[in-house]
């Protein structure tokens, strides 16, 4: 098959909803290959066993963990912290993004704060922040918020800025009121960009929640990982690491579903066929 044919047929494939059996098969193939590679690395001894456990032992450990209350508590605490931060960031980020996207004056006025804030390494200040916020949910969700709000804000802002001028002109010609303009024109047009921000943010949120736990000792997945590492129990720490991966996977599945609903209107790439 030539390149263009591939593109065309894959565009046709993506027009159909969900994964086709072929895609599923490929996915399984990649999965098996990945696990096999891992097993080989673990078995070959290239990396000390203490650092990379065999996949089998991780699976066993994970299976043992999932039946414990402790595991679900840890997962729950991490997810909760990440979720609060993420939701707050989504609300603030999208709102401020729309405002600064739609108004040059607002964007210029906040530009310094946004660019400064984006680069502000809040995680590095954990020791200081604990003094102010303690080690509870506040700390976790604050740090998640700070890390996630700016990507969402920027993705929204730039998405709004790039609404095609022909579309804006149409809205103007029909004197579309501001609220309606935002709701029915700017937001839908910026949706792909915003969703990308949310997908970035979802993973970053979980990562920051875990990092906060590792660094501050507040309970959650991160803390479990530290414990496991201090106990040189790599299978256990991998079990939790894998858990984090699954969380990201799950959140993104959700966002993808959302995306397929919100972007229903888009023709498949490469032209309809």
């Amino acid at each position: 098959m030539t390149w263009t044919q591939t593109i065309r047929s894959s565009a046709a494939a993506s027009q159909r909803r969900g994964a086709t059996p072929g895609i599923m098969l490929w996915r399984v193939g990649v999965f098996v290959a990945g696990i096999a590679l891992w097993a080989v690395i673990a078995a070959s001894g290239v990396v000390p066993a203490g650092l990379v456990p065999a996949p089998s032992s991780v699976v066993v450990t994970l299976a043992q963990q999932v039946v414990t209350v402790e595991y679900w508590q840890a997962v729950g605490l991490t997810v909760w912290g990440a979720l609060i931060g993420l939701l707050a960031a989504a609300v603030v980020g999208i709102a401020v993004g729309v405002i600064t996207g739609a108004s040059t004056a607002a964007e210029l006025s906040t530009r310094f704060l946004v660019d400064f804030g984006r680069a502000f390494p809040a995680v590095a200040l954990i020791a200081v922040l604990v003094l102010i916020l303690g080690r509870g949910l506040e700390l976790k969700s604050t740090l998640v918020f700070v890390a996630v709000v700016f990507p969402i804000l920027l993705q929204t802002q730039q998405g709004v800025r790039r609404v095609p001028s022909s579309v804006i002109e149409t809205a103007r010609a029909f004197r579309t009121p501001r609220a309606l303009l935002v709701r029915k024109v700017m937001l839908p047009s910026a949706t792909p960009s915003i969703l990308t921000g949310l997908r970035l943010g979802a993973s970053v949120g979980i990562l920051v929640a875990i990092a906060t736990e590792v660094l501050s000792g507040s309970p959650g997945i991160g803390n479990q990982i530290t414990d496991a590492q201090m106990g040189a129990n790599s299978a256990l720490s991998f079990a939790y690491i894998v858990t984090a991966g699954f969380l990201g996977f799950a959140v993104n599945i959700g966002l993808e579903k959302l995306q397929s609903v919100l972007l229903r209107w888009r023709p498949a790439m490469g032209g309809e066929n």
Partner: protein, 270 residues
């Protein structure tokens, strides 16, 4: 279809100039142009490609502000789109919102006017029927052919039910038959509802057939090179009107004027 109000309105451009770009890139497109659009008339704007028809229409619609001079609606100077004006864009594809289905696209401007939902959808469906797209209400714009998209844009302006309608090459992508029917629709809008209509077109037959008046633009920067009254009466017929001597005479006149400012002119001028 009824209009909420058919008040006396008249668009007028006085001493309007418009340029794009700055410095060395500055292009003067329209210079010191004066034009009164009479209430209840169909005014056709014709002129060679690139002369500034779209630019003038955007000025009249308040979508662009003149570099100098003013555009006014009645006594009110316009610097913004006004409620009384509906627009059909030349770039009809770009003006349809891709995330809305056809019916939603047509109903959308009504939402801004707080028309209740049921009423909105009814009006949208009516307008779509009129342009022959009653069965495509539930499709996305990209699922339609070029001509169908263009008709959606027309339907949207119809559903808006404004007393003034500005149309930029509204029938450019339509087949002869559909075109004839929509041309007659325009005439009915004027006759039955008293709507004031400005149509940009490159089809001179169409201009003469539709217009109470044909305004010919030409030159660079452009100005009005002719302003032709069309004394064909308000009732016109695709077959008979087009065969009258007046019609033929007028179309020849306009054609000749455009030829003076057409492509060849530009090439040699370059």
């Amino acid at each position: 279809m009824t209009l909420e109000s058919t008040t006396e309105v008249a668009l007028s451009a006085s001493h309007v100039s418009k340029s794009f770009g700055v410095g060395a890139d500055r292009v003067e497109v329209i210079e010191d142009l004066h034009l009164d659009i009479r209430t209840g008339d169909v005014t056709c704007l014709v002129g060679p490609s690139g002369v500034g028809k779209t630019t003038l229409l955007r000025l009249l619609g308040g979508l662009a502000t003149p570099t100098s001079g003013t555009v006014s609606l009645g006594d009110k100077v316009i610097t913004e789109p006004v409620e009384q004006v509906a627009v059909v864009f030349q770039d009809y594809r770009g003006s349809l919102l891709p995330w809305m289905k056809v019916a939603q696209n047509v109903a959308f401007p009504l939402e801004g006017r707080k028309v209740p939902k049921a009423e909105r959808l009814r009006r949208a469906q009516d307008a779509l029927e009129v342009v022959g797209l009653g069965d495509s209400a539930d499709k996305y714009p990209w699922q339609l052919s070029g001509g169908m998209q263009q008709r959606v844009a027309i339907a949207r302006a119809l559903a808006y039910e404004a007393p003034i309608m500005l149309m930029d090459e509204p029938f450019g992508s339509l087949d002869a038959q559909t075109r004839f029917e929509l041309e007659d629709l325009v005439l009915r809008l004027r006759n039955d509802l008293g709507i004031t209509i400005v149509v940009v077109t490159h089809d001179i037959d169409e201009a003469v057939y539709l217009g109470d008046r044909v305004v010919v633009l030409g030159g660079r920067p452009s100005r009005i090179v002719d302003d032709v009254e069309v004394p064909l009466g308000r009732e016109r017929n695709q077959l008979t009107s087009r065969a009258t001597p007046t019609f033929i005479e007028l179309r020849t006149r306009v054609l000749e004027e455009i030829q003076q400012h057409g492509l060849t002119q530009q090439v040699t001028g370059a």
